[in-house]
């Protein structure tokens, strides 16, 4: 369970988030929407303690994340998958190596090195299975930089799944794939998270996908929580994307 109480986050002069109250139960699937610059990325980064809130409290499974020591923080993070906007794949490594790196928080450096350099058949099978689920099994041995943008996004999703987390945080993971692919990727995440009771928080620009596939939609505008609804109506959504109300347009 993730619990935010009056959470604010400022960067020097900009206030990226202010007074956010939110409770996310284990297994919930949430779409995070809002115009560019509204604070979606900032919120996601707070959730796995990449950023620490300037004000308020953030608890994950009743642990105050701001108080974690570096070692505890690593253990905490190894259970949360994070897919950043820029994906964070190592371009010069092979696809299977990038997927294996999903478990970097679980293994010691030497055993990770062994897996990367000399993967066992069982490890390859596990990676291959996940790549099959995201639809690019044939890319197993390809250098990651040779993949298209959409294919790389799928590698990032595969890495997140391989990590076997309890929560997946994803920052616009489907922005570079065609609409059909986007749908199938979200369906896949949907299915896997239901099967394993995973929490999913995903920022997404496409409102229709958000409404269609996510039981709960959270909307931000200028760092303020405007919507938190299981079935947002058009009139609720409209001001969020009304250009007259938006200062920043991306």
């Amino acid at each position: 369970m993730i619990e935010l109480k009056e959470v604010s986050k400022s960067f020097q002069s900009t206030k990226a988030l202010s007074g956010i109250n939110l409770i996310i139960e284990q297994g919930e699937r949430i779409a995070l929407i809002g115009p560019s610059g509204s604070g979606k990325t900032t919120l996601l980064k707070l959730l796995n303690a990449q950023h620490i809130a300037t004000d308020g409290s953030l608890k994950v499974n009743n642990i105050e994340v701001a108080k974690l020591s570096p070692k505890q923080l690593r253990i905490f993070r190894s259970d949360i998958a994070y897919i950043p906007q820029d994906l964070g794949l190592v371009p010069s490594l092979k696809v299977y190596q990038n997927v294996l790196l999903g478990k970097i928080g679980r293994f010691r450096t030497l055993s990770m090195l062994r897996k990367i350099l000399l993967p066992s058949k069982a490890e390859l099978t596990a990676v291959h299975e996940i790549l099959e689920r995201v639809g690019i099994p044939e890319k197993l041995y390809d250098t990651t930089s040779t993949l298209s943008g959409g294919q790389q996004q799928r590698v990032a999703v595969a890495r997140a799944l391989f990590q076997q987390p309890h929560t997946i945080l994803a920052d616009e993971p489907v922005s570079a794939v065609d609409p059909a692919r986007a749908k199938s990727l979200i369906k896949l995440l949907d299915q896997i998270s239901t099967e394993n009771n995973l929490t999913v928080v995903m920022s997404i620009h496409n409102i229709h996908l958000a409404q269609q596939y996510f039981p709960r939609v959270v909307g931000l505008r200028q760092g303020i929580l405007k919507i938190d609804s299981t079935d947002p109506t058009e009139s609720e959504l409209e001001p969020l994307f009304d250009l007259a109300h938006t200062e920043e347009i991306g």
Binding site: R74, V90, I104, T109, P137, L140, Y141, T143
Partner: protein
Amino acid sequence: MNPTLAKTAFGKRRGFLLFLGLLLFFCLWGLDLKLKNFGPTEAGLNVAKEFFSTAFSPALDYQSEGIPESAPPYYKKILKATWLTLKYATCGISLALPIGILMGFFASRSWWQLEGSRWSIRFFIKTSHRICKIIITAGRSIHELLWGILFISAIGTNPLSIILAIAIPYGCTLAKVFSELLDEQETQCREQLRNQGGGAFSSWLFGVFPLAFSDLISYALYRYECAIRSAAIFGFVGVQTIGYHIETATADGNINEVWTLLYALLALILVVERFSNFTRKKLTASQQSRVKSSSLETLIKNRTRNRYLKYFSIAVLNVILFSWFHSSIFPAAEWLNDDSLNSRLTTEQQWKNFNFFIQSKLTPAPVRESGNWADTLPWAKKLLFEKGFEAALLTFYIATSAMIIAWFSAIFILPWSSRALQSPNPFSVHTGISKYTGSLRYCLAAILRLLFIITRALPEYLVAFLLLRIFGTTAWPLILGLAIHNFGIVGRLGGEIIDHRDFNHTRQQLSIGGSRTKVFLFSILPSHFNRFLLYFFYRWETCIRDATILGMLGISSLGFLIDDASARNSYDQLFFYTLLGACLVMIGDIVSGIIRSRLRAA
């Protein structure tokens, strides 16, 4: 006109170029050089004619009369000189590498994760970082040839002196560049791995190191190439490498022999250079599966394996082992031993010599007499103000003017030498050029690139040595020697940029009717101007370092004073001037370091 408009019309970049031009003239003026004196002397013209006319007839046998019967066949002499050059370079680099890797890691911040860690750990990391940086700067601020002279004076002419003299500055240079390469990499992969719970070291190992890997390997190989040049130059202080034989052959007037040796050196360096190029290509080659199957079995069976790294490591290891132990592994290879150097001293005696050297020979002369260390200051002051300061200034002028000349000429040649720009379809835009002119352009570009490769391969000291006999004893040969070598380097580095980056804007300008020259001026140069400047400063600091020894050829500057002190066996003065040179190099390093980090951030 609007005053702000007028200001922007004369931008920083043009201002800087103008400044460089003026600086060049100021340096030449400081060196008391006149442009009208630039050119060969009358006697030098004849030397030049004779020298270049023999270029195509290198000696295949001894040229001098009266070679004793017992002398080894000529080819063996050349082979041995070449081998010794390679051997000292290999042994030196094999010691420098572990130094470079270890200190490079600790001098880099790319693995740091200080937030939230205990203050004692933070203190330890920051202190070791600082100490490493200081050692690195100090170690490389003294030229390898000067380390050589110091070691030879201390422990005698012993192979170990030469190897250490290469290993110390090279280890520090490797460490410096390794740490810079690591720090330059993008950090998002590392951050991602940390976000997944990776520790500081493993996030670095999998998120930064792979990005820098091919750069690290190619830089190490580039250093190996430099070590060969250095080893050759050690001949000028008496080690029997190629430089030694070039010096004696020149003194005896055996020009054909000089050419044989030059070709041998060039061949050695070019082999390493090509090999390094090939290695880089192999290591950066990305791989794609040949089969379109999605079954795991088929994928495993058909995966393309890059075994190059394995073979490469085995080959490198063998070369290193052979260089160190060839005489004990292969007794038949004994004739390859450097007999000039096998000092018969035991380790104990060497150690004694070393202590004696440190404790008494390096002590300033007045202190040796009076026993009072307070006498150091007036002594140092005298040395500094009588000759040292002026020599340091001359050294600076030589280095700076050489670099400015090299940089401007390389940038000027660049568009003509670029593979991407001079191809019949530059950046794959059709130009409608005729086949004949197309291939002519392409040939010209290839020749210019060859020029870059060859000038870069030649050691500046050697070029200056040969030019001295043509230009007479002015500073011009030193400037030209430095400039020619750096011209090649800047040309190669610049070519890498133009040919290996994607230029959408270049393509766009070509597609709306821009010519090659125009797109170079308005698309390539502006978009990579900072990178070109980065190369200028990167080479400028190296130039200062190299200029500290060029004076040993007999032109007044720091090297001249050092050589003079060494000839008089006054090691205290030698050490003083060496340190003065080191100070100059460090100042250059710091200035260039600040400017380069600004340029990178810009």
